[in-house]
Amino acid sequence: MSAVFNIALGIALIAALAWVFRLAGQKVTGNAPRFRDMPFGVAFGYILGALVLVWLIWAFVQSRSADLVTANKFFFLGLAIKGFLLFAAAAWVFRLLGRHIGTAGTRKLFRTIPLTAAFGILVIIVYAILAIFANVIAPHGQDEILQGVAANIIPGSDPDFPLGTDQIGRDILSRLIYGAQNTVGIAFATTLLAFFIGGSLGFLAAVVGGWTDQILSRGVDVLMAIPSLIFALLLMTIASVWSSRLGIPLTVFMVLIIAVIDSTRVFRLARAVGQNIVVMDYIEAAKLRGEGMWYLVFKEILPNATAPLLAEFGLRFCFVFLTIAALSFLGVGIQPPLADWGTMVRDLAAFISYAQFAPLVATLPLLAAGAIALLTVAVNFVVDWMLQKSSGLKE
C-alpha cells in the first residue's frame, strides 16, 4: 500500500514542479510563445526527464565509490553510461570528420545526417573491418587453446588478454573478432539470398497477378503460418542428418533454410511495393510499348522499389543475425570450434550468476551478447534514417 502511496506522491510532486516550472518560465521570459503555449504534459515531461538525469548522475557517482558493495550494485549502469558517452562522442567526431573529408556528395550527406545514423554507420564500418581483416587483427586463432595460459582470466586483469580467456583457455578478444567474420558474414549471405528469392518472386506476383500471384502468395502464407524459429529448428534437425550423409557442411543448410523462411517476409513486401508501382501510368505505357517481363521488373519497377527494399534489408539482416545466434545458442547453428557470438553466450552463460559480487566476471557472456546488441541497434539506426529519407523523397 505504501508503495502505491509513494508513487502517487512522486507523481503529484512532479506535477507540482512542472506547474511551477511553466509558470516561472512564463514570468522570466515575459510570456514567450515557448512557455505560453506549452501543454502541461510537455512541462511534466521536462521535469521527469530532468529528475531521471539527476538520478543517473547520482548513480554514476555511486558506481565509482570506494565502497565495493555500493560500487558493484551500480557497476553495469556505470558501464552503460560510460559506453553511451563514449559512443556518442565517437559518432560526433565521425560525423565531424565526414563533413570535412570525402567527396562533395558524402560531405553533403554528412551535413544532414542525425547523430544516431552516424553512430550506426560507424559501428557497421568497424564491424566490417573486423570481419574482413580478422586474420590480421586477431592476436590469436579462433580455436587456438593457448598453452601455458590460465583458463577463465577475468577481463582487464591480464594485459596480454584484455578481455580474458574462456573455460578452456581461448582468447576471448580473438574469438569475438572471428565471430564477426562468421556470424555477420553468414548472416549477410543469408539475407542476400533471402532478398534474391523473395524479391524476384514478389515482383513476379505483382506484375503477372492472377493465378501465379495466388499460388505464390498462398504458399508463402503456409510457410508464414509456422513459427519461424521452431520451423528452422525442425528443418535444421533434419538437415543435420543429411549433412553428415551427403558431406555438405551444416552451415550451408542453415543458410538455405533461414533464407527460405525469411524470403517469405521479403516476398510480402516486394509484392506490396510492386503492386503500388504496377498501377502507375508509366508501367502501363511500358506495357503498351510491348516491353517484356525482364525489362518491366528490372528497369521500371526495381529502381522505384529500392528505398523500401533497402530499409527492409537492414531490418531483415538483424532478424537473420538474431536467428543464427539463437540457433547457435541452441546448438544447431554454427558448429564449434568456429567462433560464433551465439555459441559464446551459451558457453559462458554460467558466469552471469557472479554479477552481484564480481561484476567483472559476469561481463564474460555479456561481451558477445553486447556485440550482437550493438550491431542490431546500429543497423536499425541506419535503417530508420534511410526510411525517413525515402519517405521524405516521396513527399
Partner: protein
Amino acid sequence: MTEPLLKIRGLKLEGRSDETWNPIINGVDLTLARGEVLGLIGESGAGKSTLGLAAMGFTRDGVRISEGSVVFDGIDLLKASAAVKRGLLGKRIAYVAQSAAASFNPAHRIIDQHVEGPVQHGVMSRAESEADCVALYEKLRLPDPENIGFRYPHQVSGGQLQRAMTAMAMACRPDLIIFDEPTTALDVTTQIEVLASIRDIVKDFNTAAIYITHDLAVVAQMADRIKVLLKGDEVETADTRTMLSAPTQEYTKSLWAVRSFERPLKAPVVAGSVPVVSVQNVDASYGIVPVLHGVSFDMHAGRTVAVVGESGSGKSTVARCITGLLPPKAGQICFDGEVMPADYRKRSKDQLRQVQMIYQKADTALNPRMSVGDIIARPVQFYLGLTGKEKRARVDSLLEQIELEPSEYYSRLPSELSGGQKQRIGIARALAAEPKFIICDEVTSALDQLVAEGILRLLANLQDNLGLSYMFITHDLATVRAIADEVVVMKNGRVVEAGPKAEMFRPPHHPYTDLLLSSVPEMDPDWLTNLLQERGVDNIGDAAVGKM
C-alpha cells in the same frame, strides 16, 4: 469607416527546401470587410493556398511567417497564444479544402464530423447542432437533407460532399471562410450547383470569404473583388467588374487572353476516306459492370476528335479499348481499315507503335528514376532500333520539337521539371514512336491555364507538321473549343451526340449537350445569376442530369 474584419500587412512567408529558407510570399497586403468575398487567383506555385492558410494564422510544416501581421477582428493571429487561436479556428474562421473526399474522415458519418465543431466550441448542444445541420443541408439543396448526414463520406457524390463540407464550415456561423479551390476537382455540371450553393449561403449569413482558385470564370461569379498573385507578389487588386473589363497589368491581361486560343476550322472530311481509327459498336465492361454500350465513331487523319462527358461517362474506357488494355465484349477497333486484335498483347510491335498515349497526370506517367533522355530514348531504341549517336540525335531533335533545350534537359530527372515540362516529355515519348494516332487523356486538366494553353498550341503545331490524329479526352469545353475538329459527347457509356465542332456549338442540341455547354462558367460576372434565373435552381447540376 468601420474596422475591416481581416487585415494582413506586409506578410512574408518562407518555405524550407534544401536546408535554406526560400521566400514564398514577399510582402502581401490584404484587407477584407465583413461580408465581402475576395477572389485570390494565380498559377500553381503563386502562393495562393499558403496565403489563404496564413490568413488563419496557420502555416504548413516547413513554412514559416518571417514578417508582417495578420489581424482578425482586432486580434493579431501571429502573436496570439495557442489557446486564443483554438477558440477562433473552426468557430469564427473556417476552411473548406479542395478535395472534400480527402478531407472527410472516411471512418465517421458526415453528421458526426459536422457537429464536432459546434459542440467542441460550446456554440450548440449536439441535438441543436444536428437540427441546424439538417437546415443547412436544406439550404444548400442537398438531396434528402434529413438523412444524408447519416451516411459515410464514400456513400455520397463528390459534389454533395463538397457542399456538406461547406455546411460544416458554416456550422458555427463563422465570420470568415477560406475556400481553397472548392470546385476544381468537380465536373462542370456538378461545379455549378456547388457554386450556386456557396454563393447563396455566404450572402445569406453575411460571411466574409477568401475564394482561392485558378479558374477566372469561377472567380468572376463568386467574388466582389479579385486579387491576382504571381510568384508570391501581388500583381493587382480591383473590383471584379473593373478587373474583368479593364485589367491594368500585362500579366493579368495574358491570363485573360488564354481563353481566346482557337484553331481555324478545317475542311470537312472527304466522304468515303478510310478513317485512321474506327471504333465500331464497342461494348465493354469491368467485370460484370457494363460501361460502354454500342459506341461507334471514326477518327480521320490529321484531325482532332474531342470526346467529352463527365466522369463516369466512359470516355477513358473507350481509350482503354482502343489501346487494347480492356478488350471489348463486342464490336471492334479498326486501324487504317484493318481490324486490330482486341488485346494489346496480341498486337504486333508495329500496331502498338501506331497508337500512342499521353496521360493526364504527367507525375505518374514518367518513371521518377529515369532521366528525361532515357525516357524518350527507350521507344526510339525499342521501335526504330536506333543506338548510340543516332539515338542521341533523334532524342535531341524530339526535345527540340517539344521546345525544350536538349543539352539542358537531357539528363534531368522528372522531379526536376515543372508540370508543363513533364507533360511535354510525355508528348515527346509518344512522338518518339512515330505514331499516326495519339490518345490525349485529359492532358491539360492538371495544368494552369497559361501552361495548358502552351501545351495545346504545341499539340496543334505538331499535328499540322506531322499529320497526326488526336483523340482528345476532356471534360473542359474551353479546351474543346480551342483544339477540336470534331466532338463526341458521351453519357453513361453511350454516344449522345457527335459531329463537327461548328455544329456542336450551335443549337439545337441534345438536351445533355445543352446542359454541358451551358454549365461551363463564362467570364461574365452575371453569368451564374442569369443562368439561375433562366433555368431555375432545380434545373442545374446533378438534379438536371437525373431528369434526363
